[in-house]
Symmetry: C2
Subunit: 342 residues, 2 copies
DNA sequence: ACAAATCATGCAATCGATTACACAAACGTA
DNA sequence: TACGTTTGTGTAATCGATTGCATGATTTGT
């Protein structure tokens, strides 16, 4: 009653061979209509379900893909995973989730686990301190397992990636602050060994140059992406001889921390000081003093990542194609940097 | 170079049988030390990795588990998944994610997919409108696949679950409002076909009764868990002849919407009106007017769910055990309901 | 020195589904 | 009637790893 039905059970029931059952279930035209019908009915009656494991072993395709992220409980990564899942679900792929917690060893371990599990592809947003992992990434490529970077990528020839234009994001955020009349714009950056933070910084710098504002490295602080670190950084900036009058933060959390600190020191936002964040976390919109932020469209990023994977796996001829998709960031202007209605 | 190494490749290389290779790799004591060593070395040299698919087919254990949630991009579910992943990772299980989007058909489809994929267990937070799915849940149980409910459960004999005490959550939130001096406490509820909302409502009602406050059904509004719906509900409440002076909302998002509406109508919080939410979403803490909320400890809930699964799968003797874990909710008191420092 | 016990290894079946190849029956055609 | 073709099924190998049983080689005991 409770045990699993196999094609052999059906074959025995009908006194035919398992091969015939298999063919009938797959609607092979070589099988007579009557047999086909009979098999279908019996299969339904016996509640037969195809064993994907057996199928996977024979075909070499598990119909599972692996997704590796630093952590899942951040709005950004959760949304990208949602996008990936929604795009792959109709294509009958299952999504296996792995977290690295920014730990390189964990990352390597996860990749190995996924390879052993015979996944059909790996989508990964790499951790911070990444040198050692280059080796294993090449092993993935050697095994002809499609690999796609999203958001946090490495520049490796022949590997596809889906990112947003962080440079542009940094640029438009900074330009917006300039347009609002800010003259001394500081920047809270992240780990510059990651392309994303490097590019946001570069965009910031270029925007300053393009608008005749001198770049001052004292105005750039590298900080963690959390509220506390943002507060500490803001405090440091305010202690400068000539404190800034605006902050472009690479992180919404740091931006929030900075705002809290600025208010605590009696500074009026946006009248005396403007702040723009990055990531468009839900809370930025919810605040009474809502925070301007650069949106990364994570849902779309996830969907695009899945699409690139599907293209790659269906293009056996052009299997090793490289596709670098760059999405457009969008600045959401809110109260923390909006002087228009004052 | 790039193709996969199997035990047959190693066997051929060493002129021994695959059986011996397999035994050597598994440190079977029947194999001589010299052979064992040789096999190990050759395996390492040829970069051999065990094919989990073949192993799974033979052993009947895939080492994959399925997790089904309404959606992954909510802080609550993302955190539970994080907990599950972190608890199962050291035990060599992979986590497959499925989303239902509150759609019952999708839920049934997901369960079927997971069963076909031969997962070793299923952890699920059920969707709203759930009657039809009872059938498929029984099929899971018939197949002896461990099934565990978390947060949103169904009351089925022999099925384990991990939840928080929603009744108590509703009770302590309401009692807190009473303690703050509120006399006319309204309640924003969710879909009462779900146990969680029903129990929060019951806790609310009991707290009123226990403190001599008459229950008024006009003060209870069933609403969706989003900001907009919360605003609409608050507006409705304010139009009553005797409007309430506090809201206990089953959702943080609805609570936020209500607060926005109250403020828009010139009501002072917490002086004239107190609000408590449920879920302890990150933004409740970040707001300038931070929102009191009942914490559901999703991380712990996820870990506990995984632990129950592990117990169940390792207890073959007592395989059909039923374990109902109920976690304690914790009220985080913040500005939206705190009159102590006024 | 010969039987018995121990040891190391190989053979073949198994998990469940697919598929190349073989083959028998039925059919059509000259 | 005899031969070629089509049609429907069965046989057996395959995917990769594990394991009960058999076997040959070596060691032990007397």
């Amino acid at each position: 009653m409770s045990e699993k039905t196999t094609i052999y059970d059906i074959a025995k029931e009908l006194n035919i061979s398992a091969a015939t059952v298999s063919r009938a279930l797959n609607k092979n035209p070589k099988i007579s209509e009557s047999t086909c019908k009979l098999v279908m009915e019996t299969a339904a009656k016996m509640n037969y379900k195809q064993n994907q494991l057996a199928l996977a072993l024979r075909s070499g395709r598990s119909n599972n893909v692996g997704v590796i992220v630093p952590r899942i409980d951040s709005n950004f990564f959760a949304s990208t995973i949602r996008g990936i899942e929604e795009e792959l679900h109709p294509n009958k792929y299952n999504v296996i989730i792995c977290q690295t917690h920014e730990n390189e060893k964990r990352e390597i371990e996860n990749i190995n686990t996924l390879l052993n599990a015979q996944v059909d592809g790996i989508m990964i947003s790499i951790t911070n301190e990444s040198k050692e992992n280059e080796k294993i990434i090449h092993r993935v490529l050697e095994k002809n397992v499609p690999l796609i970077f999203f958001d946090r990528k490495k520049n490796i020839d022949g590997v596809s990636s889906v990112t947003i234009n962080d440079y542009k994001g940094g640029y438009i955020a900074t330009k917006h602050l300039i347009d609002e009349g800010c003259k001394r714009i500081a920047h809270l950056s992240g780990d510059q060994s990651l392309e994303i933070y490097e590019n946001r910084f570069k965009g910031y710098k270029q925007a300053l140059l393009d608008h005749g504002i001198e770049f001052d490295e004292n105005y750039v602080i590298q900080t963690k992406s959390n509220v506390e670190a943002g507060g500490v950084a803001a405090d440091k900036l305010l202690q400068l001889k000539t404190p800034p009058d605006a902050i472009f933060s690479s992180s919404d959390f740091a931006a929030l921390g900075a705002i809290q600190e600025l208010k605590a020191q009696g500074i009026k936002i946006p009248e005396d000081f403007c702040v723009v964040g990055f990531g468009n976390e839900p809370f930025t919109k919810f605040m009474e003093l809502s925070i301007s932020s650069v949106d990364q469209s994570p849902l779309e990023m996830g969907k695009m990542t899945a699409k690139v994977f599907l293209e790659q796996i269906n293009n056996t001829e052009n299997f090793k194609m490289e596709k670098k998709v760059v999405l457009n960031p969008e600045l959401h202007i809110r109260k923390s940097s909006s002087r228009q209605n004052l």
